[in-house]
């Protein structure tokens, strides 16, 4: 018995958008029904972000029409879209951390009395909205006092204050832990019951299946189709997203090989307030996974080994000889490369081309007096663009026009070109799609096969297990266990280790 489908609150049809050199969207349709969570699915570069930006007035569509509640609309700015009832929470928290929590929720529509902002009512209203999210914060404290996860919730509280008919959540869960995700989903269900149409974007397939009623799939800027979530299996979904059957990826390594040539040995290395002293040996050709919860000290370990932070104590030996890794430059001199989790802030220069970005680190090691010959540049870049399948495969393309996953590949290429002995990858697959993820994982396996040591950090335990020869488990800024990978090591074992802190 099919219920009559209510009229869509939002209908986008035939949306097309052209960027210099890229056709970002081509004839895409999307409809959102009131009281439904609608997942927008697609790989990186499929056009999800662009579609959302068109919907929220950040970009204007070149072709196509948008109808909101039956009326044709065109938004010239995010403000217009918001006033029409379309609220957005972006992937990266877009709030002003210098302002108070209350202001971040209500700025732009502060309660006023005779034109004067009524701070008392404003704080009360903010507390009310946060209470809907089951949050109790000091609303007059600056937002910078709170964690990223809380900031995300504040962003949602902000979106809720408007008489929202459409709520867009763009990767809201990428920085939240399981409890917080549960909290968010409770809120989403409540809003759904209020008749709000929610557009949800996430790379976590389980979450999509848990919360969404319907999904629209995009591929290469085109519409693949719209499906009720319960009628589409996960395998079919992935196949439609990447346009091919996904070869199930097993553990990429056989039995743990014997590694006998230590490359980097850290003894009692630590830094007060960041990570307790730890001892860790990474051998040539070995992939060492770092597992642990957000904030357990994963990134801190990486930063110490790369010299980005000063160690408070302990020693490091590289290739058997004592080494001082006091600056990233010194670490690079020892053949250590660090591909950080924050590709936007650290490293990529959006206004340079793919080629220039890739060649940057190599040029830096040579010094400016000895430019890398153009021919050699072209050859190197060509090779890596091909090997990493950077799309579009044009080295002269500006990096800013690339999707997140492809930007990540460019950053990776930059470090690979230096042929490091130890490659530190901090969340290289965060926020990128299944296809690119698989490629990066395969690449890691290949590199270690060629003798490169890899320190692999990821929040996804499956991924850590699949790739690593050895897993170091962190908890509360302490290295609590070092487990050789093998058939008996499962995600359950890892989770237990993290939970128990290695005391078994």
């Amino acid at each position: 018995m099919a219920m009559a489908t209510p009229a869509p609150v939002l209908r986008m049809s035939g949306i097309g958008k052209q960027f210099p050199g890229v056709r970002a969207l081509d004839g895409v349709d999307l409809r959102l029904l009131p009281g439904e969570v609608h997942a927008l699915m697609g790989e990186n570069g499929a056009g999800k972000s662009t579609l959302i930006k068109v919907l929220t007035g950040v970009h204007q569509a070149d072709e196509g029409a948008i109808e909101l509640a039956g009326r044709s609309v065109a938004f010239g700015s995010p403000l217009e879209a918001r006033q029409a009832g379309i609220s957005t929470v972006y992937q990266e928290v877009n709030l002003c951390t210098n302002l108070s929590v209350a202001e971040n929720i209500l700025i732009g529509r502060e309660p006023r009395r005779w034109g004067r902002i009524d701070w008392k009512r404003m704080r009360a209203r903010a507390r009310e909205l946060l209470a809907r999210l089951e949050l109790d914060l000091d609303v007059s404290a600056p937002l910078s006092a709170y964690s990223l996860a809380i900031q995300q919730m504040v962003a949602i509280a902000r979106a809720l204050d408007v008489e929202a008919r459409v709520l867009i959540l763009d990767e809201p869960t990428s920085s939240l832990d399981a409890d917080e995700v549960g909290q968010l989903f409770r809120v989403m269900r409540r809003l759904k019951d209020d008749g709000i149409a929610i557009l949800f974007v996430s790379h976590f397939l389980d979450q999509v299946y848990e919360i969404s009623d319907r999904m629209t799939i995009l591929r290469n800027g085109r519409l693949v189709g719209e499906y009720p979530t319960r009628e589409l299996s996960q395998v079919d979904l992935v196949a439609k997203m990447i346009g091919q059957e996904l070869a199930a990826l097993d553990r990429l390594h056989g039995e743990a090989a014997a590694f006998d040539r230590p490359l980097v040995e850290a003894r009692e290395l630590g830094r007060a307030g960041a990570i307790e002293p730890f001892t860790l040996t990474i051998h040539e050709g070995e992939v060492v996974g770092l597992a642990g919860l957000l904030g357990s000290g994963r990134t801190e370990v990486a930063r110490l080994l790369f010299g980005a932070d000063h160690a408070g104590g302990g020693r490091v030996a590289v290739g058997g000889a004592p080494a001082s890794l006091r600056t990233p430059r010194a670490a690079m001199g020892h053949g250590i490369a660090f591909c950080s989790e924050n590709r936007k802030a650290d490293g990529l220069i959006p206004d340079l081309t793919v080629r220039e970005n890739i060649i940057l680190a190599l040029q830096a090691t040579r010094g400016w007096t000895r430019p890398v010959p153009r021919e050699q540049q072209d050859e190197l870049v060509e090779r890596y663009v091909k090997a990493l399948r950077i799309s579009p495969p044009n080295p002269e393309h500006l990096v800013r026009d690339l999707s997140g996953g492809n930007q990540q590949k460019v950053l990776l290429a930059r470090w690979l070109i230096l042929e490091p002995r130890l490659l530190i990858l901090d969340e290289p697959t965060r926020g990128i799609d299944v296809g690119a993820k698989t490629e990066i994982q395969r690449l890691v396996a290949e590199l270690s096969g060629g003798g490169m040591a890899v320190l692999f950090i990821s929040a996804e335990l499956e991924e850590v297990l699949r790739l690593s020869h050895k897993v170091a488990v962190l908890r509360d800024r302490r290295l609590v266990a070092e487990l050789p990978n093998g058939p008996e090591l499962t995600t359950d074992v890892l989770m237990e280790t993290i939970a128990s802190g290695g005391r078994t």
């Binding site: 403000l79 972006y90 709030l95 002003c96 302002l99 502060e110 902002i117």
Partner: protein, 328 residues
């Protein structure tokens, strides 16, 4: 949140600390001056600082708006000079009355600010370069009016300028101080209690975020340069009261004094953090340095610059330490 606890166990939020430091510095300077020099520790010394720096205070208020958005306005000194020049020449030449001249001057200053703000916003140009152009333009315009100093002899104008407003117990202030105080209070109200003011802070915090939050970032940016232009023109009028002349070489380098006052007052040059009250303290500290040097008598006035330089270094370091500690 980072807090410092003081003796009474009450915590002071980190964002108030720079202002507090400046406040303590002012008090300390006053106490040291009072111990060292006879006749220093009187209320009139503080009031004289206000009287001698009313124009700088008004200009610094405008600069605070601009710096809070993360911008900078280098044109203020030149606009001050242009204002004195226009005032003096219109009153001296055609003999226009002050109540026509002053509004006109304020209009010209606001117009210049509006133009610069619009250039910054519409063409997305660095404020530094736009206001640098504005600085040359306004200074140049002074010399098209005249290369010599023009005295102001308008009766109403000079009478107003020389008015003494008596307070209690032999203390007095000039009308300029009242005007500056009104400007400070109005500006503090705007910054704290109006949407424009909060948009100024948001824009300085993160322009991108402010835009995505649906705030009128462009309008805010144009507004702060207009306000700064208005304040510079008003500062020019107050300087005319003080100098009773118009001259193309008035207020040379005042943009830097204003920036120094704002920074010493605890406002971050990157924008988004700071209070107007801090700027008032910043101006007072600068003024008190001059007062101390004049009491000292033997030191050259260049020492003012040296002290301001040292203070700026100290405050920039202080800010750096705080922003470093605030990072989670």
């Amino acid at each position: 949140m980072t807090t410092l606890s003081l003796g009474g166990g009450r915590a002071v939020p980190a964002r108030y600390v720079p202002v507090l430091v400046t406040g303590c510095l002012f008090v300390a300077m006053f106490v040291v001056g009072g111990i060292r020099y006879e006749g220093f520790a009187s209320g009139q010394v503080v009031l004289n600082v206000f009287i001698d720096n009313a124009f700088l205070l008004v200009v610094a208020v405008g600069m605070t708006f601009v710096i809070l958005t993360g911008g900078i306005d280098l044109s203020v000194g030149s606009v001050v000079a242009l204002s004195t020049m226009i005032s003096a020449s219109l009153m001296a030449g055609p003999g226009w009355p002050p109540y026509v001249v002053v509004p006109l001057v304020l209009l010209v200053g606001s117009g210049l600010g509006l133009l610069m703000g619009w250039l910054v916003h519409a063409f997305d140009i660095q404020p530094f370069i736009v206001t640098l152009a504005g600085m040359f333009l306004a200074r140049g315009l002074c010399y098209t009016i005249g290369t010599e100093s023009i005295p102001i002899e308008d009766a109403t104008f000079t009478a107003f300028a020389q008015t003494r407003i008596d307070l209690f117990a032999d203390l007095w202030i000039s009308p300029s101080v009242v005007i500056a105080a009104v400007v400070v209070l109005a500006a503090a109200y705007v910054l704290h209690y109006t949407r424009l003011g909060r948009a100024v802070y948001a824009t300085g915090g993160s322009e991108q975020s402010a835009l995505l939050m649906g705030l009128p970032v462009g309008r805010t940016k144009v507004a702060v340069y207009t306000i700064s232009g208005f304040c510079s023109a008003l500062g020019g009028v107050l300087l005319s009261f003080y100098m009773l002349s118009g001259y193309g070489l008035h207020a040379v380098g005042m943009e830097l004094d204003a920036i120094a006052a704002v920074v010493i007052g605890g406002t971050l040059l990157t924008g988004g953090t700071g209070f107007l009250f801090g700027t008032v303290l910043g101006v007072l500290v600068l003024g008190l340095i001059q007062t101390i040097l004049s009491f000292e008598g033997t030191l050259s006035s260049w020492w003012t610059k040296i002290f301001i330089g040292l203070l700026l270094f100290a405050f920039i370091l202080l800010q750096r330490l705080f922003s470093a500690r605030r990072r989670p």
